[in-house]
């Protein structure tokens, strides 16, 4: 592959293969010339899995890209290779896992995309005072859950919360399409609350189920 083709294929920087010293696209896992595994490139999770950076990731393409790469990086294929190649293949596998796990989950994908686009995600453990409407809603839901005294009642609350979670995912798609990062960040905050609430519903349901 000549340099112009490599650029087109990789869509980015060209580096030098550590093994054959030939040019290699910055984000490829293997050298197209000698086939040697490369150290993980310093690229974002979307580029690592060869995806367009969008919230509306096609789940099939994501799975296909990930499982295909992991198959090629399977430790069995590197059992007889040099320690350097084994180390690179392991680093690649770790980077791919991180990319896949981040992009697979809608909430993590949204947080990641907000950060990638230069928006702000509320740091872990920070407290929220200026979203009174959301806090009122959460307080009300938690009170309803505390008062729900049958498995069926808890299931109804849980189903309503799951529906809302789904609606947030749809709204995120619109927010990202309009590049409205503050709206996306508000939605992810709501989803964090809904996610925790659904967990609470499950544990309350289990407790109630045990007693009846």
């Amino acid at each position: 592959m000549n340099e112009a083709e490599a650029t087109a294929a990789g869509g980015g920087a060209i580096s030098t293969c550590w093994s054959c010293r030939g040019p290699v696209a910055g984000d490829s896992i293997f050298c197209a010339t000698c086939g040697a595994v490369q150290p993980p490139a310093d690229v974002d999770h979307f580029a690592r899995l060869d995806l367009t950076p969008t919230f509306d990731v096609d789940a099939d393409s994501l799975d296909r890209g990930y499982f295909d790469a992991q198959r090629r990086l399977h430790p069995d294929r590197f059992a007889t290779r040099t320690p350097r190649e084994r180390a690179f293949s392991q680093l690649q596998a770790v980077s791919l896992n991180e990319a896949y796990e981040t992009l697979k989950d809608p909430l993590r994908r949204a947080d990641y995309l907000v950060t990638l686009k230069g928006g702000e995600v509320a740091p872990e453990g920070c407290s929220l005072v200026n979203e009174q409407e959301l806090l009122h809603e959460v307080m009300e839901r938690r009170e309803e859950l505390a008062e729900a005294d049958s498995v069926a009642a808890v299931e109804a609350l849980e189903a309503a919360a799951s529906d809302d979670f789904g609606r947030c995912i749809a709204a995120l798609s619109t927010a990202f399409a309009c590049d409205d990062l503050p709206a996306a960040a508000r939605l992810t905050t709501r989803m964090r609350y809904l996610g925790k609430y659904i967990e609470e519903c499950r544990s309350r349901r289990t407790r109630l189920g045990r007693h009846t």
Binding site: S127, V129, L135, V138, M139, R142, T189, Y193, K196
Partner: protein, 134 residues
Amino acid sequence: MAYSTKVVDHYENPRNVGALDKSDVAVGTGLVGAPACGDVMKLQIKVSADGIIEDAKFKTFGCGSAIASSSLVTEWVKGKSIDEAATIRNTEIAEHLALPPVKIHCSVLAEDAIKAAVNDYRAKHAVGKAKAAE
């Protein structure tokens, strides 16, 4: 992770759980939350005409440290002036309850809650005074 005996005590016997009438002009309400943990905390104060906190109530959905932090704050603020109550720092709460570093944010939440309650009371009062002046 083991909770300190003080946290367990507040968690098992929370002080001042409940609610005050939100629409009462003598009542200030603070509602805060921590999205990462899914916690939500409501802290209310009832203030006398001379600015002393006569009663305090809380309702918290969250971990043991969040419940203990808010329970402790309601105990502390009773009998204090609103100005004194607003100076309570999360470090005092964390120290008293011997919170581990990962639970410090629960004490921050309690500090934010009492501040928000005081601010709500002051805002109501500012509006009241403005109306009275009209």
